[in-house]
């Protein structure tokens, strides 16, 4: 009895260790990988319903996902030291491309974000989603922490120069994500409380300035957010319909493919920015909580990896990536539920679309690289 039990246990142990060894070989992080696959799986189910039950759409999304995963795998092989050495170059190249886009980029849907590279179109702002935190972490790597005031000024340029270029395109959602990724690096580096309060105060004072820089449609979005009922057929339509979709889902939802808001096309952009409302309508509160849990698991794992990072650069970068991922889904969920203004941030890994997926997966690749390239130290 005992022997058989032992035997059984050791075979299952062996398969486990085999999987673990394979993951280690590939520099992949098991928990992160499982979490990512779960989110993408749930995402595809919702997307199938939101996209009018088009298999085509799912196939295209899956193809992009697979490509992004390959990208993640490649980046996971690169040791953090290499990433650090390349950080300034990535940043400089990305900033230069942003300028190029602003001067001569392709105008898509009235905004200048794209660079046409013949083979594919490319958004330099995506590059900066990683470029800015990497640059900030690189800058702080050898310096004594917490950063001094003069260093903070340099960091402000590193973070806000690209942010302004992107906000000018105009792409407020991405500008928000990029500036927060940079700010997270500085906060995690141990920025003193007095500076935090000072900067917070400055930011409040800067709001009118931001208003001045906004395009009409962006101002309209903010106004509509404050009072959606004023414009029920125009800009407020999105928020009203999205709230109806979520609210009518109740606790358990109306069932897959049965959400009338999404299926009858009352909900605009149901397969892209507003896909969280489809989840709420068809799977209810439970479905949404499930997705939030999965996301929080990814964030938690990211923060765990960050706190075990072995040098300043790794720690700061990993922490920033994990927290920015949080901002990413929180802002989307906030805007879909009417908590935040509509700024055009997709639901990460779930919304239909390819460009942001590659960057997200690259970010997770960096986390995996940081986790898997740790030198063994006595615990």
């Amino acid at each position: 009895m005992n022997e058989i039990g032992d035997l059984n246990r050791s075979t299952s142990d062996r398969t486990l260790t085999l999987a673990a060894r394979l993951l280690k070989r590939l520099h992949l992080d098991g928990p992160l990988l499982v979490g990512l696959l779960l989110v993408c799986g749930l995402g595809s189910v919702v997307l199938y319903s939101a996209g009018g039950q088009s298999l085509d759409l799912i196939v295209r999304q899956a193809t992009r996902l697979a490509l992004a995963m390959v990208g993640m795998l490649v980046i996971a092989q690169v040791p953090p030291n290499f990433l650090r050495m390349w950080a300034p170059w990535l940043f400089v190249a990305g900033t230069a491309l942003l300028v190029v886009v602003l001067v001569g980029g392709d105008v898509g849907k009235g905004a200048q974000r794209w660079l046409d590279l013949r083979l594919f179109r490319f958004q330099p702002s995506e590059l900066m989603k990683l470029g800015v935190p990497m640059m900030a972490a690189w800058f702080l790597h050898r310096r004594r922490l917490p950063p001094k005031l003069s260093e903070l000024l340099v960091l402000a340029v590193i973070i806000f120069a690209p942010t302004l270029l992107i906000a000018k395109q105009p792409d407020l959602g991405t500008a928000l994500l990029i500036s927060s990724s940079g700010v997270f690096v500085v906060l995690l580096a141990g920025l003193q409380l007095r500076y935090i309060f000072l900067l917070g105060g400055l930011a409040m004072g800067g709001l009118p300035l931001l208003w001045h820089f906004m395009h009409d449609y962006q101002r309209q979005r903010v106004l509509t957010f404050l009072n959606p009922e004023t414009d029920p057929l125009g800009a407020g339509y999105h928020i009203i319909q999205s709230k109806i979709a979520i609210g009518s889902g109740g606790v358990f939802g109306q069932g897959w493919l049965n959400g009338s808001q999404a299926q009858l096309e009352f909900l605009p952009e149901s397969s892209t920015d507003f896909i969280f409302a489809v989840l709420g309508e068809e799977f209810g509160l439970m479905g949404q909580l499930l997705l939030i849990l999965m996301y929080m698991f990814l964030v938690a794992r990211g923060l765990y990896i960050a706190s075990h990072g072995q040098d300043t650069f790794s720690r700061l970068l990993a922490g920033s990536i994990a927290l920015t991922f949080f901002v990413y889904f929180f802002v989307n969920m906030g805007m879909v539920t009417g908590l935040l203004p509509v700024v055009g941030v997709p639901l990460p890994l779930v919304s239909y679309g390819g460009t942001s997926m590659v960057t997200l997966m690259a970010g997770f690749g960096i986390l995996m690289s940081i986790q898997s390239h740790r030198k063994l130290l006595p615990q």
């Binding site: 088009s54 906060l187 609210g247 109740g250 096309e265 209810g284 706190s307 929180f330 539920t337």
Partner: protein, 620 residues
């Protein structure tokens, strides 16, 4: 003090970092708490409210496309209109078995077998309740064939739609343009709300240039739908506003005359009213049938047009850049009068060739034995080259350039349809910038000599030549050429006319110079030795003109054109410019017949036919 200079305290940093991460976790959880509270508020507390709203959400807003504005010619003939067409449409959600349904439609010859794959992909990529058009234009017989079997095809239906139709077909395709399906680039350019319910936009000519006016304003209706999304009742909301009807300056039957006169030749005719810049004729041959574009062109049809050696899609009147040849001589003569105070009566001897001082190179006259003693009027009437070689050399290239530019040559005329080419009037300045190598950058006297007869680097479009001729006819008054003269309100029928736009006129120090040139150009047609006298024989009115023959060396008139493919003996372009009547002119025109041979032989008869049609039957 000492340790806080450079030492990095890793342990302290790590501790701070973990503390900060902890703060981050706490803040994140608080934020998620707010979010979840919001969700509970929406989905539990207010569930009844939103559920009721959702159930009541049974009204779908559907766009109603506006009827596109019509285009009339100056005499009220319709040149672009909307015709009802029966289209076969399929809606996926109503079809029990898509492949089998399509197969049966193929068997009934309503869908082509070759299109099956493309259609299947198209249908699957659309939402299940969006109709997909299988056939764009069904004839009566096809409609009948389907109608009999209709109950066998749930989800497939025949619907009447409006499609654009051009009663005059190809002859005005280059100027009126056409509408076609919007591609990705068109969609990006335009406001999606304005194009809701339409999939067509103007692609060329007036249809493109006046898209905003023609399009109209999209309307909306509310459809009451059941839980499956099927329409139960329609509530009209805001009716669409039809696009504006446009009155064009074209005289469509004169256009027809010009088109027919060009016949099988490749060429162009542009006729302008010198009194206001109205473009009466803008023809380019060969042409294409715009109706095919309106009902959807297959790829093979499009490729056939694209690869046709005659380049039917190429608008020669606007985009063809040709050396003006001798048609530039009246302008050179005017430049001589104005800039050099040259006496028109001074005679020059023409031995049949011209040489530069200290050079033996002979610039030939087209008449080998020479014209003998020539004054200015003779030189224009007989198109003596030697006279103009000498005059050009005396003027110098920069004076020639400055003078020709005042007539609008070398720049776009600003006509109100897109795609115009600027042509080229060379100068020293231009040559410096145009060539890579230093030795190519300096200007040679020989190049000035041939510029005197409109050869060398000089390039003009037929539209520019017509505009310049109109300026001569109007004694220096110039207008921006225009194709749209007014807008007719589709509701009230009221016509609002646009005022012609005057351009800076050409002012000469002595207005009598205009008469000298005018008389000389009359001699071309009515003088005993005029180059145009053969085509002018029997005319019941007097008209002024000038022939031209453009030799094309390796200079292609446009980048798409393969001159090398054309046999040597076909390389002369025939040109003719004219205006009529000689006193108080009402029409000025330019004709080009590609590879037609001499201007007086090939282009002058075309000009005469158009002028006859205008003078004898169209004149109001």
């Amino acid at each position: 003090m000492i340790e806080n200079i450079t030492l990095k305290d890793h342990w302290r940093e790590q501790r701070t970092f973990v503390a900060r991460i902890f703060v981050g976790v706490v803040v994140s959880i608080l934020l998620i708490g707010v979010l979840v509270a919001r969700l509970v508020n929406l989905q539990v507390t207010n569930y009844e409210h939103f559920s009721a709203l959702s159930k009541g959400n049974r009204v779908r807003i559907e766009p109603l496309p506006a009827t596109r504005g019509l285009i009339y010619d100056r005499n009220g003939q319709i040149i672009a209109q909307n015709m009802p067409a029966y289209q076969l449409e399929l809606t996926r959600e109503g079809v029990p078995n898509l492949d089998e349904t399509l197969a049966r439609l193929v068997a009934m010859e309503l869908v082509k077998e070759a299109d099956l794959g493309r259609l299947t992909r198209l249908i699957r990529s659309r939402r299940k309740f969006e109709p997909v058009t299988l056939m764009y234009q069904m004839n009566d017989e096809e409609v009948a064939r389907f109608a009999v079997m209709r109950q066998e095809f749930p989800g497939v239906d025949v619907r009447a739609r409006l499609i654009r139709q051009y009663p005059y077909g190809g002859m005005s395709s280059h100027v009126v343009g056409y509408v076609g399906s919007m591609n990705e680039a068109d969609l990006k350019r335009s406001d999606p709300a304005a194009y809701a319910g339409t999939s067509y936009s103007g692609k060329l000519g007036i249809e493109r240039a006046q898209e905003k006016l023609l399009l109209g304003q999209v309307g909306y209706q509310q459809n009451l739908v059941n839980a499956q999304g099927r329409t139960l009742q329609t509530i009209p909301q805001q009716p669409p506003l039809a696009g504006e009807d446009l009155i064009s300056t074209l005289d469509i039957s004169l256009q027809q005359t010009a088109y027919d006169a060009l016949g099988e030749h490749r060429g162009a005719v542009v006729a302008i009213d010198p009194r206001n810049g109205d473009v009466l004729v803008l023809a380019s041959t060969p042409a294409f049938d715009p109706n095919k574009f309106a009902r959807g062109l297959s790829l093979s049809e499009y490729n056939a047009l694209q690869n046709d050696p005659g380049k039917p899609l190429f608008n020669r009147a606007l985009r063809g850049q040709y050396p003006p040849g001798s048609t530039v001589k009246p302008l050179i003569a005017l430049a001589g009068l104005q800039q050099l105070k040259e006496s028109p009566l001074r005679k020059n001897f023409c031995p049949g060739y011209f040489t530069l001082p200290n050079s033996t190179h002979q610039y030939r006259d087209w008449k080998k034995e020479g014209h003998g003693q020539m004054d200015m009027k003779d030189a224009i009437a007989e198109s003596c080259d030697v006279y103009f070689y000498a005059l050009a050399l005396e003027l110098g290239i920069d004076q020639i350039h400055d003078f020709l530019v005042r007539f609008g040559l070398g720049t776009v005329t600003g006509i109100d349809i897109p795609g115009e080419k600027p042509g080229l009037i060379p100068s020293r300045e231009w040559k410096k910038g145009a060539f890579e190598r230093r030795q190519d950058q300096s200007w040679y006297p020989g190049e000035t000599v041939i510029a005197g007869i409109g050869q060398g680097y000089m390039l003009t479009t037929p539209l520019q030549l017509a505009q310049a001729t109109a300026a001569i006819a109007a004694k220096g008054k110039r207008f921006r050429p225009r194709l749209v003269v007014g807008v007719r309100d589709s509701a009230s029928g009221e016509i609002s006319e646009l005022a012609p736009e005057e351009l800076p006129p050409v002012q000469l120090s002595d207005p009598a110079y205009w008469r000298v040139i005018g008389e000389a150009m009359e001699e071309v047609n009515h003088g005993p030795r005029g180059t145009g006298r053969a085509s002018a024989a029997g005319a019941t009115y007097r008209y002024a003109g000038k022939s031209g023959t453009a030799q094309v060396f390796s200079v292609a008139q446009d980048e798409e054109y393969e001159v090398e493919d054309v046999p040597e003996h076909l390389r002369h372009h025939a040109l003719f410019v004219a205006y009529a009547p000689a006193e108080n002119p009402e029409i000025a025109l330019a004709v080009i017949v590609e590879h037609g041979g001499g201007g007086s032989a090939a282009a002058a008869p075309v000009a005469r036919k158009v002028l006859d049609a205008y003078m004898l039957s169209h004149r109001q």
